[in-house]
C-alpha cells in the first residue's frame, strides 16, 4: 500500500468521533424506538413483548385519533396562510422604497424570541382582560373574549402564533429566491410590454418553483412537529378538551405523564411515517426541478 493511499485512512480517524456518536445517539435509539413500539413498557418493569398490539390499539384510541385530527388541522391551517403572507412580504420588501431596511428589521423581530417566549407573550396578548380582547371584543360584541379557552378559537390562535413567529423566516427564503432571478429576465418582460403583475405571474413565479417546493415541504414537516406553542399557549398542555393536543403532545403525554412508553413509541413511528412522506416529496420534487432548470 502506497503512502498516498495509506494517508486516506486518516479520513476515517477524522470522521470516527462523529460516526461513533451517531451510532450511539441516533441509530441505537431508532432501533430501540421500533422495538419499544412492540412492547408494553412503563419504565418500572422490563418491557413485555406484545407484537403489533399497540398499533392495533391506536385505531380505537380516542386521544390518538383526536390528536391526528388536531395535527392535520394545524398543518393545513398554518401552512397555506404562512406561504401567502411570507411571499407577499418578500415581494413587498423586494421593491425599493424609503425606510425599507428598517421595516425589514421590524418585520424580522418575531423570529428572535424562542418559541416558548413567543407563546408566553401571546398568552398575555390573548388574556381575557388583555389588549386583543379589549380591541376586538367591542367589534364582535362580546367582551371579554376567552381566546384560549374557546374550543373553536383556541386552535386558530395556535396557528396565528405559529405563523406570526415563523413568517419572517420563510420571507427571507422567498426573498433570496427572488434575488436569485436574473434581472435581465424581468427587464426583458418589461420591454415586451408586460406590467408589474404580468411580469410577476409569468416570469418570477415560475422561476420561484424550487423555492416554493422547499418552503411548502419544510413548513409542512415543521407543522407536523407542532409541540411547544400548543404546550405553552394552551391552558392545560394541549387543552381545552384536547383541541390543541398534537401528535407531539400526545407522545409527551403517553410517555411522560402516563408512562406508557410502548404506546408513545408506536405514535412516534406513525409521526415518522407522516414526516417521511413529505421528506420524500421534497427530495423528489426538488430534484426534478433542478433538472428542468439546468
Amino acid at each position: 500500500m502506497g503512502l498516498v493511499q495509506r494517508r486516506q485512512y486518516y479520513g476515517l480517524l477524522f470522521v470516527a468521533p462523529a460516526v461513533v456518536f451517531f451510532v450511539i445517539f441516533f441509530l441505537y435509539p431508532i432501533v430501540i424506538g421500533f422495538g419499544l413500539s412492540l412492547t408494553d413498557f412503563t419504565l418500572l418493569k422490563p418491557p413485555v413483548w406484545v407484537g403489533l398490539q399497540n398499533y392495533q390499539d391506536l385505531l380505537n384510541d380516542r386521544l390518538f385519533l383526536k390528536s391526528l385530527n388536531v395535527t392535520i388541522g394545524f398543518v393545513l391551517g398554518s401552512t397555506v396562510p404562512v406561504w401567502v403572507i411570507s411571499l407577499a412580504m418578500a415581494v413587498l420588501f423586494f421593491q425599493r422604497f424609503p425606510g425599507r431596511e428598517l421595516m425589514k428589521v421590524l418585520f424580522f423581530t418575531p423570529l428572535l424570541p424562542s418559541v416558548v417566549v413567543v407563546s408566553v407573550i401571546w398568552k398575555l396578548l390573548l388574556h381575557p382582560s388583555g389588549i386583543l380582547s379589549a380591541v376586538i371584543g367591542p367589534i364582535v360584541g362580546q367582551t371579554p373574549i376567552k381566546w384560549l379557552f374557546d374550543l373553536q378559537l383556541s386552535p386558530i390562535m395556535s396557528v396565528v402564533v405559529h405563523d406570526w413567529h415563523i413568517a419572517p423566516f420563510y420571507m427571507i427564503i422567498w426573498l433570496s429566491g427572488l434575488t436569485a432571478i436574473p434581472p435581465e429576465l424581468r427587464d426583458a418582460a418589461r420591454v415586451d410590454g408586460a406590467n408589474a403583475l404580468q411580469s410577476f405571474l409569468r416570469v418570477e413565479l415560475p422561476l420561484l418553483k424550487p423555492t416554493a417546493v422547499f418552503v411548502a415541504a419544510i413548513s409542512t414537516i415543521r407543522a407536523f412537529q407542532g409541540f411547544s406553542i400548543q404546550f405553552v399557549l394552551s391552558p392545560s398542555q394541549g387543552g381545552p378538551l384536547d383541541v390543541n393536543t398534537t401528535l407531539g403532545i400526545v407522545i409527551w403525554k403517553y410517555g411522560f405523564q402516563f408512562f406508557r412508553m410502548g404506546d408513545a413509541a408506536a405514535i412516534s413511528v406513525v409521526l415518522f411515517a407522516f414526516i417521511l412522506i413529505f421528506t420524500l416529496f421534497q427530495l423528489r420534487l426538488g430534484r426534478s426541478d433542478d433538472f428542468s432548470l439546468s
Binding site: Q8, F26, S129, I221, L276
Partner: protein, 292 residues
C-alpha cells in the same frame, strides 16, 4: 422652456408623481404590516417596565405610566430562579456549540478531503439523520439516557445534542472548497495530518464555523422538549422550561410583568447575536432551513 415643451414636462411630472405615490403606498403598507409584526415584541419589553396593575390597563399604555425601572427584573431574580436558569442555559449552549463546531469541522474535513473505504455509506448515514426530527427520537432517547444513568444530570441534557449531523454536512460543503495544493504543500513540509487540520483547515473554515456556531447556540438556547423531559431536578432547569413553569402556575394568575422581564432577559442574547453578527445570523438560519 417648460411652456415650450409642455408635453415632455407633463410626462416627467406625471412620472415623478406616480413614483411618489407608488413609494407612499409601498411605504405605508410595509409600515403597517411591520408594526403589526413588531407589536408583540414591543409589548414584551414595555410590559417588563410596568407595574403588575398596569399590565391590563385599557386603553393600553404605550409607555409605562408608573415606570418601574429595573424593579421587575430584580423581582424576576427574587421570585424565580432566573440566575440558575440563565447559567444552565448558557453552560449547555456553550458546550454544545463548541463541540458541534469542532467535531463538525473534524468530520466535515474527513468526508471532504479523504477517500477511505465506506466513505459514501457513512456520509449517506449522516445525511439521513437530518431527515429525522427529534420529536420521534424523544422516547427512545429518554430510555437510553436513563440506561446510561444520566437522568437528571448535565450529561443527560447535553449529550444527545453534542454533535449535529447538520454541522457535519455544512462543514463538509465548506471544507470541500479548500485547495488541495495547500494541504499537499503542508504535507511536503512534513506537517502531521492533525496539525494540518489545526493550522490550515480550521482557520479556513472560520466563516462557516461562525454561522454554524450561531445557529447551534440558538438551537440549544431555545431547545424545549428535551430539557423538559430529561431534567426534573430544579437545579437543572433551563430558561425555556423555567419560564414555562413560572407562567403556567395554575393556582394563581402569573406575575405578568415578571414573566415579561424573564422573557426579555431570555431574548437579549439572541438580539445581541442578531445585531452584531447579522450576516452570519441570517446565513446560518437560511442554510439550517435545509434541516427542516
Amino acid at each position: 422652456m417648460a411652456l415650450a415643451k409642455p408635453y415632455e414636462s407633463d410626462w416627467a411630472f406625471e412620472a415623478r408623481l406616480r413614483r411618489r405615490i407608488r413609494n407612499l403606498i409601498l411605504f405605508s403598507l410595509a409600515l403597517l404590516i411591520s408594526l403589526l409584526f413588531f407589536f408583540p415584541v414591543y409589548l414584551m419589553v414595555s410590559s417588563s417596565f410596568k407595574s403588575e396593575g398596569e399590565i391590563f390597563a385599557i386603553p393600553m399604555h404605550w409607555l409605562p405610566h408608573e415606570f418601574q425601572g429595573l424593579l421587575q427584573y430584580e423581582r424576576a431574580f427574587e421570585e424565580t430562579r432566573l440566575e440558575r436558569w440563565y447559567i444552565n442555559s448558557i453552560f449547555i449552549a456553550a458546550v454544545q456549540t463548541v463541540a458541534t463546531v469542532f467535531f463538525g469541522a473534524l468530520a466535515g474535513y474527513g468526508f471532504a478531503k479523504f477517500r477511505f473505504p465506506g466513505r459514501n455509506v457513512l456520509f449517506l448515514f449522516i445525511l439521513s439523520i437530518m431527515t429525522v426530527p427529534f420529536q420521534i427520537l424523544v422516547i427512545p432517547m429518554f430510555v437510553l439516557v436513563r440506561q446510561l444513568g444520566w437522568h437528571n444530570t448535565y450529561e443527560g441534557i447535553i449529550m444527545p445534542g453534542l454533535i449535529s449531523a447538520f454541522g457535519v454536512f455544512m462543514m463538509r460543503q465548506f471544507a470541500y472548497n479548500i485547495p488541495d495544493e495547500l494541504l499537499d504543500a503542508a504535507r511536503i513540509d512534513g506537517a502531521s495530518e492533525f496539525s494540518i487540520f489545526r493550522r490550515i483547515v480550521l482557520p479556513m473554515l472560520k466563516p462557516a464555523a461562525a454561522s454554524l456556531a450561531i445557529i447551534t447556540f440558538l438551537f440549544s438556547w431555545n431547545n424545549f422538549l428535551w430539557p423538559l423531559v430529561i431534567a426534573q431536578n430544579r437545579d437543572l432547569v433551563t430558561l425555556p422550561v423555567g419560564l414555562t413553569y413560572f407562567s403556567q402556575s395554575l393556582d394563581r394568575e402569573p406575575l405578568w410583568a415578571v414573566s415579561m422581564a424573564v422573557s426579555t432577559m431570555a431574548t437579549i442574547p439572541v438580539i445581541l447575536l442578531f445585531l452584531f453578527f447579522q450576516r452570519y445570523f441570517i446565513e446560518g438560519m437560511m442554510v439550517s432551513g435545509i434541516k427542516g
